[in-house]
């Protein structure tokens, strides 16, 4: 089952580098005392964690990515928290694309809005980056009982 629902905001994709924006973390990126760098993977992970915090989100990532992620996480070369998350990070701004699976029965627009708000809050709060856009693709619904193995037809 693949329900596609995409909510897109403004088309400007590339984060700009505007002086003064996104300083909620409290320190400038570069000062006479040294530089602060935050890896893109950190921003992706924060966005993924923020998405999972929202009730109604079951999982992140497209089906193939989830299957591949299950393998790569088992051998320790990937982190589930960044799965289904793609970020563009500038010096002071970031944009995120999320692919999520939502619990059946939840309002997709409502969950999407809560995800967007939480991602903005967390990325701005933790990484000190202004979030210019959060694009969400709902690519599946999770039904209660989906995780239970199929009963065998023969005993």
């Amino acid at each position: 089952m693949a329900t596609q629902s995409s909510e897109r905001s403004e088309p400007s994709r590339t984060p700009e580098r505007r002086p003064g924006a996104g300083d909620s973390g409290g320190a400038a990126l570069t000062s006479e005392h040294g530089q602060t760098a935050i890896d893109d993977a950190v921003v992706a992970k924060v966005a993924g964690m923020a998405t999972r915090e929202v009730p109604g989100v079951h999982e992140l990532g497209a089906q193939a990515a989830r299957a591949m992620g299950a393998v790569t996480q088992r051998v320790g070369i990937a982190d589930a928290r960044a799965q289904g998350v793609s970020v563009d990070v500038g010096e002071r701004q970031a944009a995120a694309d999320l692919t999520v699976v939502i619990e059946y029965g939840e309002s997709i627009p409502k969950v999407s809005q809560q995800v967007r708000e939480n991602v903005i809050r967390r990325v701005e709060g933790i990484c000190g980056l202004e979030v210019t856009e959060v694009n969400i693709t709902v690519n599946d619904l999770h039904f209660p009982g989906d995780d239970q193995p199929d009963e065998s037809r023969v005993e």
């Binding site: 409290g26 320190a27 005392h33 040294g34 602060t36 890896d39 964690m49 990484c127 000190g128």
Partner: protein, 104 residues
Amino acid sequence: MALAELARLAAMDSHEVTSLDPRPPTARTAVVGEQIDGVACIAAPGGGYEVTLYVIARPVPLRRLAANLRERVRRSVEAHGLGDELRTVNVTVTDVVATEKADI
């Protein structure tokens, strides 16, 4: 070596840092027989050293954390009489490790 060790100790003294990350290729300081992972110490033009910390942190405001680390390292180095050796302290956050609730 002393600068790198002082920087490492100062960073690990912060409860918002879970560990230093040895994975980036430049993230170590080595002198014969000894190696400090997660800290790079590079001679600066004009004298002194530029210290870079590669940090795995808790999900706290990271820029503020970096400023705190910078200050901790500077204080520690000055307390050990090596203040003149230290030029800049760079902080690279390479990963965050989730706790139960992000502390913002």
